[in-house]
Amino acid sequence: MARLHEYQGKAILAANGFKIPRGRAASTPDEAVSVAKELLDQKGSEVVVKIQAWTTGRAGIGGVAFAKKPDVARGHAARMLEMKVGQFPVETVLVEEKIAIDREFFLSFAIDDAARAPIIIFATGGGTGIEERASSARRIPCDVNRGPDGAAVNEATSRCGLSPTLAAQLDDAIKNLFSAARKVEARSLEINPLVLTKDGQFVVADCRITIDDYAVARHPELNIEIAREFDHPPTPLERVAYAVEQNDHRGTFYFAQLATAAAKDSKGLVGFHGAGGGGSMMSMDAIVNAAFTIANFTDTSGNPSASKVYRASRIILAQPDLVGYFGSGSGVASQEQYWSAYGLAKAFWELDLNIPTVIRLGGNTEDRAVDILQRMARLLGAPIEGYRKTDAPATIAARFAELVAAGKGTKWKPRTPRVPDFVHLSSAKAFPVKGGRVWIDTACWAEVRGFVETQSGGLIVDRANEPFVTLPADEFATKDSELLACSVESRIAGIEGFFLQLDVPGLDKLIGDTR
């Protein structure tokens, strides 16, 4: 779930009928000072400076501080903008007026998976420790279309000892909470606390909001860069991967970096390439149990295109210091596994892979998949082994450990992909496909045409001694997987003059090192 910062959440709530404290976000001490100056306009007024980070208990780590003078606010902001919370550097602070609290309430919107409907949890008294007071909380069921159950809302607010006017305001707040959540398609929206001020107003003192990842595309107004929940800001590599996923919806692709260095006592950092969430988790358990550190989590599943698997592999291999590449999913995949094998084989060749690689491609067409990997392995320096559904993750993890041990500590150095030399010749002709292009060397077309006609399944044929594309250009462009297979087969057969080049935007720049 994509998380928003407190100040972003407050803006959404303000747009939905809530009162929020006066104030603004600041990303430099100077900005913080200018906000503080605006707010410290009356005698006795005070501001609060808060780090904007996805964590609870900010006060306890020095992430919340009060100031009566702009310079004090500057000091707080300067200190806080140097902080790091978990893996997150603090990039923003919120400076707002301090509010005079009379009473506090807890108000939380969530999705009740058992009821398959939204729910609002309400409790008197806010602040930290709400989890411990769960028994006093009231659960207000909501209808997805009509909102919170009116009777349950009344029942909850009428027992708080509030005047009818204030109770009615609280009713509205609960309804507004639902509307706000619905409008931005929140997965959760917690106001803690909702403060009743001494002058009788309900004000949002703090809030946490997460947006449904799958709905982010419908909400450009939220400016969410990556609809994913990370425990760190997205790394450059994760940004590259996310763009790949967004550009190709054939199957699932998920990439997250977990570690950039091997843990102490670990046998080394491993590039992990899974397929399917459940099978990937089990395979990761196997590789962790074999005493390796997993550099990344990657999942290509749901019948992905060969190009997607290729790009995933390229991204995994953009991580330095890997001692090996480990691929394993559920093991009995419904998808046609040979497409994945072609994608991997292409990446391995282009990067001239030289670290131990174990790939389990169990499921449909597993024999063909393993055969593709084995044939490619003969062209490369690395030991590359393919396995099937009958091979358990623990077994292949053990085999992987053997190969790594035999590899005498070779560590992977990311590199840009190689392309055949003919691509640079003037005789090379390019045919565009989705995210890349097919290169054909017209100078040797006569020698390769038979191979290309067969291996491309008739996508490219000979017409008057020239390569000719048999489909309309836009349709041909979607045949990237078939052409990828043709490209790998020509590579294995040692046939020059045909090559599919696929782009991974931004990746080469990240790697820096070129051949």
Partner: protein, 572 residues
Amino acid sequence: MAILIDETKRVLVQGITGREGRARTRLMREYGTKVVAGVTPGKAGQSVLGVPVFDMPQDAVKALGQIDISVLFVPAAGVKDAAISAIEAGIKLTVLVPDRVPVWDAMEIAAAAKANGAMFVGPNTLGVLSPGKAVVGMIGGRAESARQWFKPGIPKGVGVISRSGGMASSTGYYLGQAGVRISTIAHIGGDAVLGIRIPDAAIMFEGDPFTEAIVIFGEIGSSQEEELAQLIRDRKVTKPVIAYIGGKAAREGTRFSHAGAIIEGGRGTHAGKVKALREAGATVVDAFGELPGAVVEILKRMKGQSLMSEADKNAVWNTAVTRIEPNRVAVRGYDIAELMGRVSFGAAVYLILTSELPSPAVARLMDAILVSSIDHGATPPSALAARTTASTGASLSAAVAAGIISINRHHGGAIEDCARQLKVIADRATRESISIEEAAAHTLASMREAGERMSGFGHRVHTKDPRTVRLFELAREAGVDGVHMKAVRAVEKSFADVKKALPINVDGAIGAILADLGLNPATFNGIFMIARTPGLIAQVIEEQTREKPMRRIDPVRHGYDGPAPRTMTKLE
């Protein structure tokens, strides 16, 4: 039996004209799923793999009658509207395959399902598969693999519920390798809001008499496993539960691609789930590899019928007709020694073709059908072909085979053709809400215009076929009077109305009766072959013993010198 899906369920595919829709329709049909219709807005009138395409689910329901399940292969953004249109068309189960369906859309689908008394599976599900019966979704990927991987739950099986798609197949496969039969595999989906959840599926398996135990591939996150533990404690689930919970190594807050596998606020931890299930009395294995063994162990202890014999385990393909073991032959599950002397041949034919024994009255009807077609003299093409072949010196088998070969569309085929045409008339009456007589008159009129003829009426020899009268008498006794019988009478009346005396012939009568009995029309010509074979043998033997080789056989000018007319009264 099974839960959610079997071979009798009528299935609609939404998004059938797309890449996935087309590919999965092939899988489903090849595996045995009754895919009756497809939907893609704007593509009504097309067909995909022979399946008619409609604009909307309600159009399909209107044209084809009740549809039990709709399975969706549409882009995530279109899932909500597509699912609600299926639910509002009265389809009681929708299977939402797509990934990335917004959670608010899923909640709206849930509200619509609740309001209409419907259920849904998913979103983000690979579907549901009942081994040997049918599949909705994409479990197995191809029919051939699905048949090889998952062992049918006959006589009984274990139910599999998985929160992971890939592991649904894996669990099913490894159980099969360990000799465990499966009633149904349900991948319930990986999203936050799901239609059928683990507790719901467990209750269904509890109620399925053919499921002996419930196998769970659980995951961290949500409270489904804990709710299942509560059902076990409340004795609402009493069948053995064997579970593996994935995600032990996952850190809190880390997510592994599917939204389901996330621990939120300390809820749904690995340790919590394992503890809850174990305390309730379920078996929870620590490693996935131990799951099949644990299931086998429990089935052995309960003397379950879900375990395969060694021979079945080693099988590379299966037949559902007859099981042969040392000293035992079982036809469709019945010991042949028990059948012998107790059921007539007609009843046995019915059994082997439909997999069920007929009632005594239906058995009499089957016998009558077989007797009615045992021979029709030396003039039919099959008898002539058999005799001609015999006269060349061919063996009995070759000569009879020649006779059988000539039983085709125009000889014997009228049984099947007539049954299909009667179905068209009956469907038309339902679709246009008119009487069967009107439907018959309209259909015959349009057939006349198109120059087509109605099969099963009129005879080159008989004006009142003696066999027809008797068959209808027996059908009445057996209570066989369905739409085909009604249609056949309507057609006869319609011919009479236009002053065309075309009485129902024996083929028409048999076609109507067999179709009303629910037999597969593809077997009708075969039933005729079974009936006619004794006649052909008699014709061939006579040819071989009484006639000269290579004689010229006159098809018309031949006499009869057998026993004089006689009755059965003396025998009875």
